[in-house]
Each structure stands twice: as structure tokens, then as C-alpha cells.
């Protein structure tokens, strides 16, 4: 039932799981509804200033959405101590303690009592002013963002940027509405900013645009001076906005700097390391071609694995999870290499757990003539070349699905051939100790090898006849 977004508990109550599709969609609906509320209510109070049929209907429709949200929140699991809490009683208790009161106050339609009344404050109907209680819903926005930040694997930096943009836009919108409301509440005296700027007689859209413009000019500390305060209330409001603007400016600069560094933290750390290596190689006068090869390696690692070397990353994981990850990473190899295709799951898992991933850039040697056997290599992707006589004689290619290194290991002889990457290649290495351990622990290993050996017999015959032992 999790796919449908619900789970039936022992008490029979339906609980909405944190990763269910319904919760994801509902969170998006709620964020949109909160933003709409944050835009609509101040607009109605400052610029509309009359109870309109359409506006009221929209406000009450939003109320219905938030009423449903209260019901959803009573059934929505939460995360505590690293685990998802799915006990309906605990879920309800937690919601009653945090968020419920504000949510409830936000949906009580106090304004409905005054819809037919002509009561007004400074020309603004009381019914509209009372709708301001719905702005309590903003705390629901923060709850959704907190949940997303914890739950999703996406870079939280992007989520923080979204939160910042929504926050800044709403704040400046409110400042614009508030600036115009100051003039409204004072009844547009002759020296008020709105009359001086000549917008008191304009349409609502123009009034809003000029007010919003003043909000942006003041909060961003640009201050063109074309719209200025003249009355005490306006000065007081302007001082408040200046303080807010300065704080917001600092917050924006700080947040953007932190976000940029957090979004690119992995990249910066990776390339710092690569630059450090390059600098060291230059200092030690390592040949230019080798330096380029190493740089190429880092670029390939970044492009393919986003800097996280598989091997390094796997070391941090506990065995069972590592097996899952390795299984996923090597699924291509499992399909291509007959050894894995033929092996029983137990042997295949043991093989996968022993494999060491290697990333090769063109020109990198995997094994060289004269070396003692250290293990068996399985090609996952790319193309490698087999050579002898110091690279003078080309004996063939190895591609995805091929493996080599077993013969010198079995015969206990030094290799008489070399293998190097011709293209960017990913290969897996099975160390000799693990090869031996698997041979003795899994008798079927030998049987599997015998069954799959026919696929490489022709290539093997040519190589051995040419005196090449890998």
C-alpha cells in the first residue's frame, strides 16, 4: 500500500508514509497554497480594500485545502532518531504539540463573521484585516522545507535557494503592500508619499507596481530617491524596512556564498586534491606526458563518478550495503562476463565482494611483462591492448566481458605479455589471495571456470602459441 501512499496500522488507522507519492504531491500543493495565501491576503488588505465575491471564494477554497492538511498532518508519519515513526498515536500527539495550534488558528474563518458588516479600520474592511490570521500558515511552509531537506537525496543547496527566493519575494511583496497601506490608513493626505508620487488615482495594478518598486529599491539599499517618506508613519515604516533590508541584504549575501560553496563543495574539494597532485608532480619534474595522463584520470573520475572514486566510497560502507552497491555498480559486468552469469548467487556475491574497481585512462598499463601474477582482471568497459616484446608486438584486444591474468596465476609464472588501456576503461581486479580462497571455498568456482573457458579458448590458443602468458 505504500505505493498508494497509505498503510494500515494495527489499530486500523491509515497512515501516510513519508516517501509516499501522496505526501510528495501534497507537500507541493501545500507550498503552492501557502505562497498563494502569502500573496493574496496582503493584496486584498492593501489594494483591494473591499470584500469581493471572487477573492473571498479563493480564500475559502484555500481554507478547505488547509483543513484537509490538518487531517493529513494527523495521519502523516514523521522521522525521529533516524527511524520513521508510524505509530498513529505518536503521530497525532506530536502534531498536537507542534504546528496544530497555528494550523487551526489559520483556518478559523473569523472574517466570515464580518462579511456583511461595514465595520472598517482606516478604510480597510474588518473582514479583510481578520484574514491576516491566515498568514500563520507560513510556518507550514517551513515544515515542508525541513521535511524535504531531511528526506530527499537531492542537493539541499538547491532547496535552500528555493526557500530563500520564496522568502525574499514574499517579504518584498509584504513591504510593498505595507508601504501602500501606510498611505491608505492615513487616508491619502496631500503630503503622503502616494499622493506626492501621483499614484492615489491610478489603477490597482499600477499602485501595486510602484509600491513593489519602492520595496525593492529600499530593501536592496539602491534608494533612487524618487519615492520618499514625508509623514511620520512613513518615516517609521521606512526605518523598519531599512533595517529589514540591511539584514536581508546580509542574509542574501551570506546565504548565496554558503550555498555556492555547499553546492560545489564536492567539486572544489575534488579539484583541490587534483591540483595538489598536479603541483607536486610539476615540482618533482615528472614528465609532461605522465602529468597529462594523471590529469586525464582525474577528469575521467570527475565526469564518470563525480569525483567519488568507487573504491574509496565503498570502504565506508558496511558489508551488506556494500554488496548491494557493488551489485548495482557491476550489473553491466554481471550481464557481460560469463563468470558472473554462470555463478550461483553465493559465489557471485563472494566474487563481487572481493573485486576491486580500477579506472584506467588511455595508455595506462594494467599488467606488464615480467611481473609476477597478482590476480585476475575482469573488463567492465573500454578496450585494452595486449602486447609483448616491450610493446613492439601487438597480440590482440580485450573488451567488456573479457578477463585475463588467470594463466600466470595458475602456472605460477611471470607474465610474458603486457596489457594497457586503449580507451578509458573500467576494470575489476580479483587479488590472487581472494582467487585462491574462492577456489577452495567454492568447489563450483572451478566448474564455472571450465564451463566459461570455451569462450576464450581461441584467443588463449593464439596468445600461448605466441608465447604470451597473462
Amino acid at each position: 500500500m505504500t505505493g498508494a501512499g497509505a498503510r494500515t496500522s494495527s489499530q486500523g488507522a491509515r497512515l501516510l508514509r513519508e516517501r509516499s507519492t501522496f505526501r510528495v504531491v501534497w507537500d507541493l500543493v501545500i507550498v503552492a497554497a501557502v505562497v498563494l495565501t502569502g500573496i493574496l491576503i496582503p493584496l486584498q488588505i492593501a489594494f483591494i480594500r473591499e470584500v469581493q465575491w471572487g477573492g473571498s471564494l479563493l480564500v475559502y477554497l484555500l481554507d478547505v485545502v488547509f483543513l484537509v492538511d490538518i487531517a493529513v498532518s494527523f495521519r502523516a508519519s514523521y522521522r525521529a532518531g533516524g527511524a520513521e515513526v508510524t505509530d498513529p498515536a505518536a503521530v497525532a500527539r506530536r502534531y498536537r504539540r507542534s504546528g496544530f495550534t497555528a494550523d487551526l488558528l489559520g483556518v478559523i474563518p473569523l472574517d466570515a463573521l464580518f462579511l456583511a458588516s461595514s465595520a472598517a479600520v482606516g478604510g480597510v474592511p474588518l473582514a479583510l484585516l481578520l484574514r491576516a490570521t491566515r498568514l500563520l500558515r507560513l510556518q507550514r511552509l517551513l515544515r515542508s522545507f525541513r521535511r524535504w531537506e531531511r528526506l530527499h537525496n537531492t542537493n539541499t543547496g538547491y532547496l535552500r535557494i528555493t526557500k530563500l527566493v520564496i522568502g525574499i519575494f514574499l517579504l518584498i511583496h509584504w513591504i510593498g503592500c505595507g508601504w501602500f497601506l501606510v498611505a491608505v490608513l492615513e487616508g491619502f493626505p496631500e503630503n503622503s508619499w502616494a499622493v506626492v508620487a501621483g499614484i492615489d488615482g491610478l489603477d490597482r495594478g499600477s499602485q501595486y507596481l510602484r509600491s513593489l518598486y519602492w520595496g525593492f529599491v529600499t530593501t536592496t539599499t539602491v534608494g533612487f530617491g524618487d519615492i520618499v517618506p514625508a509623514r511620520n508613519a512613513e518615516y517609521a515604516f521606512t526605518i523598519l524596512v531599512m533595517v529589514l533590508g540591511a539584514s536581508m541584504y546580509a542574509l542574501i549575501i551570506g546565504s548565496i556564498a554558503s550555498l555556492v560553496s555547499s553546492i560545489d563543495a564536492a567539486k572544489a574539494a575534488f579539484w583541490d586534491r587534483a591540483d595538489g597532485v598536479s603541483q607536486y608532480l610539476r615540482t618533482r619534474a615528472v614528465p609532461e606526458s605522465l602529468q597529462r595522463q594523471i590529469r586525464d584520470y582525474y577528469e575521467y573520475i570527475w565526469e564518470r563518478y563525480r569525483g567519488s572514486s568507487t573504491q574509496q566510497f565503498l570502504r565506508d560502507l558496511p558489508d551488506p550495503i556494500r554488496l548491494e552497491v557493488v551489485f548495482h555498480l557491476t550489473r553491466e559486468l554481471i550481464e557481460k562476463v560469463p563468470l558472473f552469469r554462470q555463478a550461483e548467487p553465493a559465489l557471485r556475491n563472494a566474487l563481487l565482494m572481493s573485486l576491486q574497481p580500477l579506472v584506467l585512462v588511455p595508455g595506462t598499463f594494467v599488467v606488464r611483462e615480467g611481473e609476477l601474477a597478482t590476480g585476475v582482471y575482469f573488463v567492465s568497459s573500454g578496450e585494452l591492448a595486449i602486447t609483448t616484446e616491450g610493446g613492439e608486438r601487438h597480440l590482440g584486444h580485450l573488451k567488456a566481458g573479457d578477463y585475463f591474468g588467470d594463466l600466470s596465476l595458475l602456472l605460477g609464472e611471470r607474465r610474458t605479455g603486457s596489457v594497457h588501456a586503449e580507451t578509458h576503461s573500467d576494470i575489476f581486479f580479483l587479488p590472487s589471495a581472494d582467487f585462491e580462497r574462492l577456489r577452495s571455498a567454492y568447489p563450483e568456482f572451478r566448474k564455472v571456470l571450465r564451463e566459461i573457458a570455451s569462450a576464450k579458448s581461441e584467443k588463449l590458443e593464439d596468445l600461448v602459441a605466441a608465447g604470451c602468458i597473462l
Binding site: D406, L407, L411, R450, L460, A465
Partner: protein, 110 residues
């Protein structure tokens, strides 16, 4: 290494005893080449007394098999001990050569 050979039902049976490695491979090659040159087309190599085979030994077998195939003949192997059998199986040589458990089975239908 000791090399002996006799003939059974038109098949030359060669027995290697000891190690077939770089040192002994030339002698083994000479023996086999002599048989092929003498017109023998069916060769059975009995590994019952062979302790170890190196890449040089494998090359001798590959070269002989190639020559025999060229003259319409055939090479069979039999009685591999556990170590040698494992090398043949894991490395894939058991699919290149016709390998039989015993001499009698190898001779059957040769």
C-alpha cells in the same frame, strides 16, 4: 623428465613422467615432432605420471596439435593428475584439447 612411447591400435601413445617445463619442453617437442614427421597422425599423450606442466609444455602441445590438424591427424590427452587437470580446466585448455580420464577411454574411437 622421462619420455616413453609405444603404439596401440595405430595410435602413438606418449608418456611424460616428471615436469614438462622450459627445461624439458625441447626434448618433448623433438619426440613429438619426430613422430609427426614419421607419418603418425594419431597421438595420445598420457599425463598419468606428469607432476607439473608449464607454459612451455602447453606450447609444445599446442604446436603438435596444430601440426597434426594440418595433416588431418588428431591429438588427445589422458590421465591428468589433479593439479594439471585444474590448470587445464580453469585456464580453458580443456576446451582446446580432447582430454580423457584414462588411456582406455582415450583410445576408444580414436
Amino acid at each position: 623428465m622421462k619420455i616413453s612411447h609405444d603404439e596401440r591400435d595405430g595410435v602413438a601413445v606418449i608418456r611424460f613422467e616428471g615436469n614438462l617445463d622450459t627445461n624439458t619442453a625441447p626434448e618433448a617437442q623433438d619426440t613429438l615432432d619426430g613422430l609427426v614427421a614419421g607419418g603418425t597422425t594419431k597421438v595420445l599423450v598420457d599425463f598419468g605420471a606428469l607432476d607439473y606442466i608449464s607454459s612451455a609444455g602447453l606450447r609444445v602441445l599446442l604446436a603438435t596439435a596444430k601440426k597434426l590438424r594440418g595433416s588431418g591427424g588428431n591429438l588427445r590427452l589422458c590421465s591428468l593428475n589433479e593439479t594439471v587437470a585444474e590448470v587445464f580446466e580453469i585456464s580453458g585448455f580443456s576446451t582446446i584439447f580432447a582430454v580423457f580420464p584414462s588411456e582406455a577411454e582415450a583410445l576408444e574411437g580414436f
